[in-house]
Amino acid sequence: MKNLWVFGLIIFSVAACDSQQQAVDTAAEKPAAVKAAPVVAKVAETQDFATLIQQAEDLYTQTEGVKHAWTINLDRLKDARLAAEAGDMDKAVANAEEAIKLSRLALKQAESEKTQWRARVPQ
């Protein structure tokens, strides 16, 4: 997390160097920090998303491995990637999180069905 802040500040300072005039006008510390926030947040979000989507895809692969993959999961993964490409990180993260949740349910289904199916066989 700390690294992200440093990274964000570097990006901001590079941006700040470009506009000397602006730097003079807003010499006070406060507005500068306010300006930095969205950039930092953006970087942090992108990093968070990369971790999330990786986790979502790994879990999906696990559901495939136990033969209980759900189609809706593919939709969520696709929506997540498309939203990220379009820069809508809120939507991207929400979809990745949904995919993770759904994969966990699918894995639970696979586990409980290992025995549950027997009860449904007509006797």
Binding site: E64, K67, W70, T71, I72, Q109, W117, R120, V121, P122
Partner: protein, 286 residues
């Protein structure tokens, strides 16, 4: 060297112990699979659910249990939409391969052999569907395999099914390996899948005959008799595994590949449930 052998033995013993415990636990929870008892139990279920319908009538699928739909279906059968597929299949079947041989060299003089499929091939240790047999015949004679679900392969099976009309399914399960493939298909059938958390029997046994998005669900008994099928929605003839995929997708489960081990074993199980019943394919469905 000695050390390596000993450690290998040690490793083997710790791996073997849990495996053995596992299989013991499994066989305790898993009484020997008896396909014939399963088939009888299913027939009894339908006898109880539909006391006024003869078991042989379930070869007509949903039209066995819905008089109004049956009437429309019989009207349609006057000009059956699968007729073209039979004709095209016949022509394909009788056209010699480039090497001068033909399907008859693989299957004999009577193309009506669908009642024996799927079969378990002991040599390869797996289930062989009619579609696999057709494609293997092609490949043995230097022809390319055809796509599994629709098109020429479905037309050839339509022609073979037509020639099998009136024969009864004679599916054999006569080795421990064949029983294992059947058991796998049976487990697949009764396992809930997809986000909707349904197994095949949810719609085709428990809720059989109920309306589901403007379709009445058909009985599982007789589910194998009429393939391939011309469906109004498809506007062409397709094979049973296409239907498996659609039913998986309906419950939001990712479908399996056509002719995958999963679907071959499923088809083996499902067809065995129709064993002894009359074939009446190709069929037409809405």
């Amino acid at each position: 060297m000695k050390w390596i052998n000993l450690s290998a033995l040690f490793l083997a013993s710790i791996i073997a112990v849990p495996a053995q415990a596992d299989s013991l636990a499994d066989s305790a929870a898993n009484p020997a699979t008896n396909p014939e008892a399963d088939r009888q139990a299913l027939r009894n279920l339908y006898q109880q659910k539909f006391p006024n319908i003869g078991l042989a009538d379930f070869k007509d699928g949903v039209y066995a249990i819905d008089a109004k739909m049956r009437e429309q279906w019989l009207e349609l059968e006057d000009f059956p939409p699968y007729e073209i597929a039979i004709d095209e299949g016949e022509e394909l079947y009788n056209t010699p391969f480039a090497n001068g041989k033909s399907y008859a060299d693989c299957f004999g003089d009577d193309p009506g052999i669908k009642h024996n499929y799927p079969l378990f091939d002991q040599a390869r240790g797996g289930v062989v569907t009619l579609e696999i047999a057709i494609n293997e015949c092609r490949e043995e004679n230097g022809e390319a395999a055809l796509p599994w679900l629709v098109g020429e392969l479905a037309q050839i099976s339509a022609y073979m099914a037509y020639n099998s009309r009136g024969k009864n399914f004679d599916i054999k399960i006569d080795s421990p390996e064949a029983v294992a493939a059947y058991a796998d298909g049976k487990q697949f059938y009764y396992t809930r899948r997809g986000q909707m958390n349904f197994e095949c029997g949810s719609c085709h046994q428990q809720k059989v005959g109920q309306m589901l998005r403007a379709e009445r669900t058909s009985p599982s008994l007789g589910h194998a008799t009429q393939w391939p099928v011309y469906r109004g929605r498809w506007q062409y003839v397709g094979n049973i595994q296409k239907r498996f995929q659609e039913c998986n997708i309906q419950v939001r489960a990712v479908p399996f590949e056509a002719q995958s081990e999963e679907y071959r074993n499923l088809e083996y199980f499902l067809t065995y449930m129709s064993n002894g019943m009359e074939l009446n394919g190709p069929g037409s469905r809405r």
